[in-house]
């Protein structure tokens, strides 16, 4: 069965490019440029994985994910950012384990590697205390 992904990135070129690339690799992708619209369309159990940008206007990816978690407690997530990781390091260390976030991907990334990352996350067991945190 094809995995369904919700993609949110405020950069239209990025969102569209990722959507096309991921669809070429067999995923079903819904993409949004605005977190608020994405949130209004979001239903529990609809998606296997969220792929979220962090730096977005109005609501950043982490705030957005916290709202998503209230609706769907099981949904998996990968963050993707063009910002420097140290910028989010404190949030990453403090908040990520609490929220069950394990994967932080940096742009730019080639499609094959992005696909690999997403597949790994999808195959992983939902264990929030996993020590294999990528952002450490």
């Amino acid at each position: 069965m094809n995995n369904r992904i919700l993609l949110v990135d405020n950069e239209p070129d990025i969102a569209l490019g990722f959507k096309m690339g991921l669809e070429d690799n067999g995923f079903i992708v819904d993409s949004f440029n605005d977190p608020q619209t994405a949130l209004s369309k979001f239903r529990a159990g609809l998606y296997d994985l969220l792929l979220l940008d962090i730096k977005m206007p109005k609501m950043n990816g982490i705030e957005f994910y916290q709202k998503m978690k209230e609706i769907d407690t099981k949904v998996k997530v990968c963050f993707i950012t063009a910002s420097e990781i140290y910028y989010y390091k404190e949030i990453a260390k403090g908040l990520f384990p609490v929220l069950g976030i394990r994967r932080l991907i940096r742009k730019p990334i080639k499609m094959e590697n992005l696909v690999k990352e997403l597949k790994q996350e999808l195959e992983s067991i939902n264990n929030y205390n996993n020590n294999n945190n990528k952002y450490n």
């Binding site: 070129d13 063009a82 910028y87 742009k107």
Partner: protein
């Protein structure tokens, strides 16, 4: 008298002490003068300790010059004695009246007992070492300042009184360095901070260096709430010393650059001032006071530099993050679409367009960073030519209108101008285009963010500070600017959007200022909101013999 004569005739070195009255007695009485001249002829070494005052300073100088006395000053000395190698002589009383000198010395104590002489020699040497050279004291009296002294205060209640008195006596300046936030709070309870506030209200320049916590910050805010005294009251935060390195464990108070009070803190946990302090040193000696001032100033400068360094570090981090985001995002797009292009030849046009768009974004970042580098290294060049600003604006607006139309944007662009045909600016055309484009792009971006609206561009001539200037105003009805950011909008990395380098307005400001103009911004006061950006450029009137317009069309 005979005893005295005998004493003097036998001695080879004479060390004497006399109170403030003794000097005049020595000089003014004829008998003594003769004796002294005689002593000088014999080459006797003469040392003398006295209390040099304004009244006896002339006698003191005479003794030094005419009779080769070596004199030192000791504040308020009472002793009247002389000691030679083998003999000791003291006068018990000295009469007030000098008219009858020989009668004035009513009683003398004489001894040639070895032990007594040795004891008195010891007393003299102790005084001698403590005393200051007469030259210094004379200079102080003649140049009009009070002799400085340093005193150790062992009784905390006295220190407290002195502290309060010193602060109350301040007329020009108070410097106060505190070691801990607790020290600040103790002094607040003691009423010192209130006294300083009142002093500042009377124009005394009050500066405090103190570690800051929430409570101190609260007090600081309250002080600065009142209008009066703010100008003269400065509380500068210093880093709280760590447990390991207790850099500063004393409070230093310097009043009017004349007196210093240094108080040891022995138990910082105590709430009461008296219980918390140990020894104190009070000094009115210039070198000591100046040293404390220099400690205060050095620390103050160091704190300022440290703050600058921290801000600089933060800005650098911010820059790396913004530059990184602006570099990685378009690179990601170029990378993704290049890959997609291979698999989706049917969407070739769209993808090439996307790659081009993102390559352009990379180019903009590159140019911005290069511009900032030029600005900072002061190598930004402007190639000036004379042209009519209104003509340039018309062309730019035209281009923007067709772009807006092409993109189906909800933004309307209006333009009105009142600049005379003969009014030219002497400026770098490409750089001015860069500024106008930057301001227009911002206006469009933030108006679109609000779902569309009107942008009004005007160009007019005005006289400002006796100079004819052209003023260009770009007023949008967009989302406006947060008051938090508006004051530093033209500095580096101040950005109101998530996309953008935060460099554009900094570059605009530098370009306009390089042309002798000004750039500013206000939030629109009307209900529609939005921001108004404006810049001015000096006008130079057209001269017949010079070409007015360059043939180059602005390349955009």
């Amino acid at each position: 008298m005979n005893t005295i004569l005998q004493f003097l005739s036998k001695a080879n070195t004479i060390s004497s002490c006399g109170d403030y009255k003794a000097l005049s007695l020595t000089i003014e009485v004829e008998e003594y003068r003769k004796l002294l001249l005689n002593l000088r002829k014999r080459g006797i070494k003469l040392r003398y300790i006295t209390d040099i005052t304004k009244d006896n300073v002339k006698y003191c100088k005479e003794l030094m010059m005419k009779f080769a006395y070596e004199i030192r000053h000791l504040d308020g000395i009472k002793a009247n004695f002389s000691v030679s190698e083998t003999e000791y002589l003291a006068s018990a009383t000295l009469a007030e009246e000098v008219q009858q000198p020989l009668v004035s010395i009513q009683q003398v104590i004489y001894s040639n007992v070895k032990d007594i002489v040795a004891q008195q020699k010891y007393v003299f040497e102790s005084f001698w070492n403590k005393a200051v050279p007469a030259e210094n004291r004379i200079k102080e009296i003649e140049e009009g300042f009070v002799l400085g002294s340093t005193e150790v205060i062992q009784i905390p209640s006295r220190t407290k009184e002195l502290f309060l008195d010193l602060v109350k006596s301040s007329k020009e300046e108070v410097l106060l360095l505190l070691p801990t936030t607790n020290a600040f709070l103790r002094e607040q309870r003691l009423g010192i901070i209130q006294l300083l506030k009142e002093a500042a209200e009377c124009g005394v320049n009050v500066r405090i260096l103190t570690p800051i916590n929430n409570i101190v910050e609260e007090i600081r805010k309250n002080i600065f709430l009142t209008d009066q005294g703010n100008k003269f009251f400065d509380i500068q935060p210093i880093e709280i010393p760590t447990e390991e390195i207790k850099v500063c464990t004393v409070s230093i108070l310097v009043v009017d650059r004349k007196g210093s009070l240094v108080i040891e803190k022995i138990d910082d946990s105590k709430e009461d001032f008296i219980e918390a302090i140990g020894l104190a040193t009070y000094s009115t000696s210039q070198p000591t006071v100046l040293s404390y001032i220099s400690i205060f100033e050095s620390l103050s400068n160091q704190v300022k530099l440290y703050e600058q360094l921290k801000t600089h570090g933060k800005m650098q981090e911010e820059f790396i993050n913004i530059a990184s985001h602006e570099l990685r995002t378009p690179t990601q797009a170029v990378l993704t679409y290049s890959e997609l292009l291979r698999r989706h030849p049917e969407k070739k046009e769209d993808m090439i367009e996307a790659i081009y768009r993102n390559a352009e974004r990379l180019q903009r970042l590159t140019n911005d960073i290069l511009d900032v580098t030029r600005i900072q290294s002061k190598t930004l060049k402007v190639n000036k030519e004379k042209f009519n600003l209104s003509d340039l604006l018309s062309k730019i607006i035209e281009d923007y209108r067709s772009n807006i139309e092409k993109n189906n944007s909800n933004v309307r662009l209006s333009y009105s101008e009142s600049i005379k045909e003969t009014s030219l600016v002497n400026a770098d055309r490409e750089r001015i285009i860069q500024v106008i484009s930057n301001l227009l792009n911002n206006a469009i971006k933030f108006t679109e963010e609000k779902g569309g609206g009107e942008i009004y561009v005007t160009a007019e001539e005005k006289e400002k500070d006796d100079q004819e200037v052209a003023i260009v105003t770009i007023k949008d009805t967009g989302v406006g600017i947060d008051s938090e950011i508006i004051s530093r909008l033209f500095t580096k990395f101040a950005t109101r959007s998530q996309t953008g380098t935060g460099l554009g307005l900094f570059i605009c400001k530098s370009i306009i200022e390089a042309h002798g103009g000004k750039i500013w911004v206000v939030n629109s006061a009307n209900s529609k909101g939005g921001a108004t950006f404006a810049f001015s450029l000096p006008i130079s009137q057209q001269q017949e013999q010079q070409p007015i317009l360059s043939n180059n069309r602005p390349g955009r």
